[in-house]
């Protein structure tokens, strides 16, 4: 770092030297160019040490130049936008970027936690399983806070994420994953055929390896060919190119998950732009052209900064015009590695030695050796030497052991086809001896794997394979044939021999760099009997880090196989699972966070209630007015008490629009309802309503509500608020699946009607100021449980139901929902003389408990109609859903918990729902449990807390005393068992 970008090459690469970008790493200011990644910019500035490792805090640099990077994890940005564990190799440089190394203390160069490395003999594979077993008490006090802090990655942001994320759907005929040579050729073929094509590329720039290699296609430099291909694709109407978009998962039915990093490459997202977008892409055909990942070799010190994959060295040289070092040693067992030596020499680097583990290489490969490089065949690197940076390598050559000074060691053990996405959904891995690696066998429905991802390792073969996949795929879908196409490109030598592990050397040899899994960990697991690949993975954590072992997995299998003297496929291979790249929770949530986590349903009087200062409560998806505080009221109990007493003494109204409402029509409507409810509706007269109970087929109560008959062939069914959707679905099931022969039509009208319940002795007089002339509300015209179609507020068609939940004279008035707020306002005027009050769900609940009506707390899925005191409603004359199983022994046995009322013996004692009943004197344990308090309220009229509960043989225990025991809140109240109805049991108030 004597000068800015000392390692930048004078020419070449796809960086814009006219656009310098300033950035900092651990607070040190540096400069890179537009087109750089953070990794290439750091290398250009001579930064080799990027982080400390997960477990041993070993110094680490860059292994790769792409998304497979295990080492170079950094924290980006600050504060609420701080993002840990980001790969420097995939971060596009932007002006003002702030990056920090992680997992070090106090600083990257002097990391005291690297003591972990000295303790390494104490931290073997399975350390957690062996050590943190006991004593249990130490878990939270010692192990978690101290030990886990030392072993870890970056720090999460410390505030709410200020950015936005969203989700979107896309559909196409042909999805192409990856825009390297095979992907571009496939997209060109499918696009020219006229198919709708989506081309996803994780990188910001399309071209894949074409950007890294010095090759030609059809007489053009490969990157120029790529640019022209992209230009043509951009001009095709059916083709959509999605850069910065990583396909992360393959799901059933041709659905793919993809993450678009929309503005990650900018300091902050511009106004109204999202940070990331999660795509669900539905594709008829998919071409997986996700390339290959180079495989390292395990040898002592192979994690040292300066040890880099050979292909990555070419990427830094050719794409970013950065020399990752001054003096190179190449260690390879593949033909491909030699091209790194050639590229380095072309860029002016000194190539000290080429070390190939093979005894012989083809002449064409040998010709790649730069002048001045010593070639060692049948030789190996025993150890990478140095400290925080590579200083040299120790060789085991035919000429004996020797040391060579070098600051860059390029390693190639061959290439692994990257078919993780195919493996998500069915593809198996098949051993390919010529690759010394696994290739996919089969693919998910609709997918083909093309190019290097299926083991085609030369440019000419990748292009031809991609084109063929695109042409065949689109032709299968009925698009015009585009025929075969020959590309003029090199068929580079791609021979490789197995080279997994070099024994010897003092330093640790790593297999999984991100999770710090060493060769000795793998061998220890093998000795301890973790023989299957899946067990090895879980025991050693191999491949379980954020990089999913993209560089380490096959290496570990090779080492295991070599140790056993068995073929690699006999060891097995672990399955890949989504997500193939890390996906932020924010992206999965999209817009559905905070207040928009789920949609909110608003009642027709919501804005009106808001204007009156109502306090709202969530009831399922609904927001309902809970109570309406008046000036001077100090707590909710006072407000609710006032609302209740106003209704009981004069008049009040409540929005009950949230009830489910279902219009049931047809000649068989009555018969249909008879089969759904335990009681009978076919006998209900037109103009009358009846309370009904519906069971589940297993005999327990599903729901209750009133149903009105509007015409001989038309009913209006109501359900509870909570079960509205479920009951409608159940009715559709019964109609379409069980009894399709019935002539009945069902439609939800829940949102059609605003429904206000007007209750109290003055309800009728109040309504006279609302209904239009000619509407008769007298008991003769509209008796209790009577229903009429009337008009209100000067000509608005309405329905009026004389129904009471409160026990008072009450009318439910339904108007088209848009008029709900107007109706509320009109009721306030009409009832002003009587002191009318709106009331909320609290007062509604108090009054229903006073009357002993069941609610959701009592219909809890475990109660029968008999348990709720409604046995006599069950018709014996017909079949209905739940009838047979309601009569099974367990549901009719004596001693079931049944509905009763409860009153505290001590005046003023508070009851709490959830308290359990115990016989007086019985010890408080579960064996003595006699039931549960389901609903409680303070009754202002009675001046006491009252409760409903389910008590063992309750109805036969009236007058007895039980304890209501509530250990959670410290409640222990003696209560008397009473009838569930506390007020007006004969119902006189209903008939005013």
């Amino acid at each position: 770092m004597t000068r800015s970008q000392a390692f930048r090459l004078a020419a070449g690469g796809f960086v814009d030297r006219a656009r310098p970008l300033r950035f900092t790493f651990d607070g040190r200011p540096m400069t890179g160019y537009a087109g750089d990644t953070l990794a290439s910019a750091l290398l250009a500035n001579g930064v080799r040490l990027l982080g400390r490792s997960f477990k041993y805090h070993r110094p680490r640099g860059l292994l790769s130049a792409g998304p497979e990077e295990p080492n170079a994890l950094v924290e980006l940005r600050k504060g609420a936008r701080r993002e840990p564990n980001t790969k420097a190799t995939t971060v596009e440089l932007f002006d003002g970027l702030e990056a920090a190394s992680q997992n070090r203390w106090p600083s990257l160069r002097l990391d005291l936690l690297s003591l972990n490395s000295a303790l390494a003999p104490l931290l073997p594979a399975g350390f957690y399983y062996k050590t943190f077993m006991w004593p249990r008490a130490l878990w939270e006090r010692l192990y978690e806070p101290v030990i886990r802090r030392a072993a870890g990655l970056g720090r999460a942001a410390d505030g709410h994420d200020p950015d936005h994320y969203e989700q979107a759907y896309a559909f196409c005929d042909v999805l192409v994953v990856g825009a390297g040579p095979a992907g571009l050729a496939a997209a060109l073929a499918a696009g020219r055929a006229g198919a709708r094509v989506i081309l996803c590329e994780e990188d910001a720039r399309l071209g894949g390896r074409l950007l890294s290699e010095d090759l030609e296609i059809d007489g053009l430099p490969a990157h120029v060919w790529a640019e022209e291909a992209v230009r043509e694709l951009s001009g095709l109407a059916g083709v959509r190119i999605m850069p910065r978009t990583a396909v992360f998962g393959v799901f059933d039915g041709g659905t793919y998950g993809a993450l678009e990093r929309v503005t990650d490459h900018l300091p902050v997202p511009p106004a109204f732009a999202v940070r990331q977008r999660l795509w669900r892409i539905v594709a008829r055909r998919t071409i997986l052209a996700s390339g290959a990942i180079e495989r390292p070799v395990a040898f002592a010190g192979n994690d040292r900064p300066g040890v880099m994959l050979a292909g990555a060295v070419r990427t830094y040289l050719n794409r970013f015009a950065v020399a990752p070092g001054r003096r190179l040693v190449l260690f390879t067992s593949s033909d491909d590695g030699w091209r790194t030596a050639a590229a380095a020499a072309r860029a002016g680097m000194e190539v000290a030695a080429i070390v190939d583990a093979r005894a012989a290489v083809p002449p064409a490969v040998m010709a790649l050796a730069p002048r001045g490089a010593t070639v060692h065949l049948d030789a190996r690197v025993r150890e990478a030497l140095g400290g925080r940076a590579l200083a040299g390598v120790a060789l085991e050559a035919q000429t004996g052991r020797q040391r060579i000074a070098a600051d860059l060691l390029a390693v190639s053990g061959g290439w692994n086809p990257n078919f993780a996405l195919a493996s998500h959904h069915g593809a198996r891995a098949e051993w390919c001896p010529h690759l010394v690696g696994f290739a996919p066998s089969g693919a998910p429905d609709g997918m083909v794997v093309a190019g290097a991802a299926r083991g085609m390792l030369s440019l000419a073969r990748c292009l031809a394979d991609g084109w063929d996949a695109g042409a065949t795929g689109s032709e299968t879908l009925g698009f015009r044939p585009v025929g075969a196409r020959a590309f003029s490109a090199e068929d580079e030598p791609s021979g490789v021999s197995a080279l997994w592990h070099v024994k010897g050397g003092r330093a640790k040899a790593f297999v999984d760099l991100q999770n710090d899994v060493t060769v000795s960990d793998v061998l220890l697991a093998e000795r301890e009997g973790y023989r299957s690949a899946e067990h090895l993975k879980r025991y050693t954590t191999l491949g379980m880090a954020t990089d999913q072992g993209k560089t380490g997995n096959v290496l570990a299998l090779g080492i295991l196989a070599e140790t056993r003297g068995a073929p690699v496929p006999s060891v097995g291979i672990t399955r890949f699972r989504p997500p193939a790249v890390p996906v932020a929770i924010g992206a999965l949530a999209g817009r559905h966070r905070g207040r928009e986590f789920r949609p909110t349903r608003l009642t027709p009087t919501h804005a009106w209630a808001q204007s009156r200062g109502a306090v709202f409560v969530e009831a399922g998806p609904w927001l309902r007015a809970q109570y309406y505080p008046m000036p001077g009221e100090t707590d909710w109990l006072e407000t609710v008490g006032r609302e209740v007493l106003t209704v009981r003494r004069s008049v009040g109204f409540c929005d009950v629009s949230t009830l489910g409402k279902i219009d049931v029509q047809g000649p068989d409507a009555g018969l249909f309802l008879d089969r759904l409810y335990i009681n009978t509706f076919s006998t209900l007269p037109v103009g009358r309503a009846r309370y009904g109970i519906m069971l589940r087929e297993d005999g327990f109560v599903m729901d209750d509500g009133t149903t009105a008959r509007l015409a001989p062939d038309r009913y209006y069914v109501t359900t509870t608020t909570a079960n509205a959707v479920r009951v409608f679905q159940h009715m559709q099931f019964c109609h379409q699946v069980l009894w399709p022969d019935l002539d009945v039509q069902l439609v939800s009208v829940s949102d059609q009607w605003a429904k206000l319940s007007v209750a109290g002795p003055k309800a009728r007089e109040t309504l006279r100021g609302v209904v239009d002339a000619g509407s008769d509300l007298s008991s003769e015209a509209l008796p209790h449980m009577g229903v009429a179609e009337i008009s209100v507020m000067d000509g608005i068609a309405a329905r009026i139901f004389r129904l009471s939940f409160s026990g008072e004279l009450a009318f439910e008035v339904a108007v088209p929902a848009g008029y709900g707020a107007a109706l509320a306002a009109r009721l306030m005027q009409a009832g002003a003389a009587f002191g009318i009050t709106p009331y909320g769900t609290e007062a509604l609940g108090v009054m229903r408990i006073e009357k002993g009506h069941i609610g959701g707390n009592e219909i809890d899925g475990r109660t029968t109609a008999a348990d709720l005191g409604l046995a006599r409603m069950m018709s014996r004359k017909k079949d209905f859903i739940g009838r047979v199983l309601a009569e099974r022994p367990a549901l009719t046995a004596p001693g079931r918990m049944q509905l009763v009322g409860l009153r505290p013996l001590a005046a003023g004692a508070r009851l709490r729902a959830g308290a359990h009943f115990l016989a007086p004197g019985a010890p408080a344990h579960a064996g003595n449990d006699e039931g549960v308090m389901t609903s409680v309220a303070f009754s202002p009229l009675i001046g006491s807390w009252i409760g409903l509960g389910l008590l063992k043989s309750g109805p036969s225990r009236l007058g007895q005393r039980v304890r209501a025991y509530d250990p959670v809140r410290g409640g222990d109240v003696e209560v008397e068992v009473v009838q569930p109805c506390f007020l007006d049991p004969s119902g006189e108030r209903l008939h005013v």
Binding site: H164, E166, Q167, A168, Y169, A170, F171, R196, A271, F272, A273, V274, R280, V282, R591, H592, E596, R598, P599, T600, R601, L602, T603, P604, H606, A607, W622, S657, D663, Q665, G666, P667, R714, D741, L742, D743, Q745, L746, V747, V749, S750, D751, Q752, W753, A754, M793, D794, G795, I796, A797, V815, P816, A817, G818, Y819, G820, A821, A822, L823, R826
Partner: protein, 211 residues
Amino acid sequence: MSEPMSPAAPESSGLEGRLVPGRHGNASGPAGVTLHLCPPRALASVMARRGALEAAVRGVKAGFGLDLPSAPRRVAADATAFAWSGPGQWLAMTTGQTPGAFEQALRKALGASASVVDQSGGRLILRLAGPAARAVLAKTIPLDVHPRAFGPGDAASTLAGHIGVQLWQLDEAPTYEIAVMRSYAASLAQFLLDNSVEFGVEVSGAPPQPP
């Protein structure tokens, strides 16, 4: 539209203050989409009775001059339209009659061949149009609205986020109408606005009524 239902009582959508007229989001260039709440129109569910599908089709043809679709399509003539909403089910709509009169007209045309239920109060209809409308819908519903897959006259019931909607395309602009249960309309409007701000959205009052 003139809705002579009530001179006295005001009708409210519940979206007052939630779907505010004006330009929202990205302010550069012309708005990518426009979003309006359609004025109230008469709506009704029409459900053919058992074995009476053909009679219902004849009734609508005779009464309204329209061929009831048997697939997810919407047919329209003059002020009246029918959108398929399920086998033997349609959402009927008109801008030419009050809800009560429309219900009566439907009953008269259909007789015993179908059940008719007024839904005028139960749904609100939002109209989304403009060059970015497809991009907004891609973020809103899990349906393919590419011109090759969904065009004028096509209709569908689906989910917008977690909200059930029925939508149809009116023209090539493209213009879509999205019918939503009234209680969910505020949440849907917010979702559509969130999905539109990237492109710039112009919210206006009453748009002209389509056929």
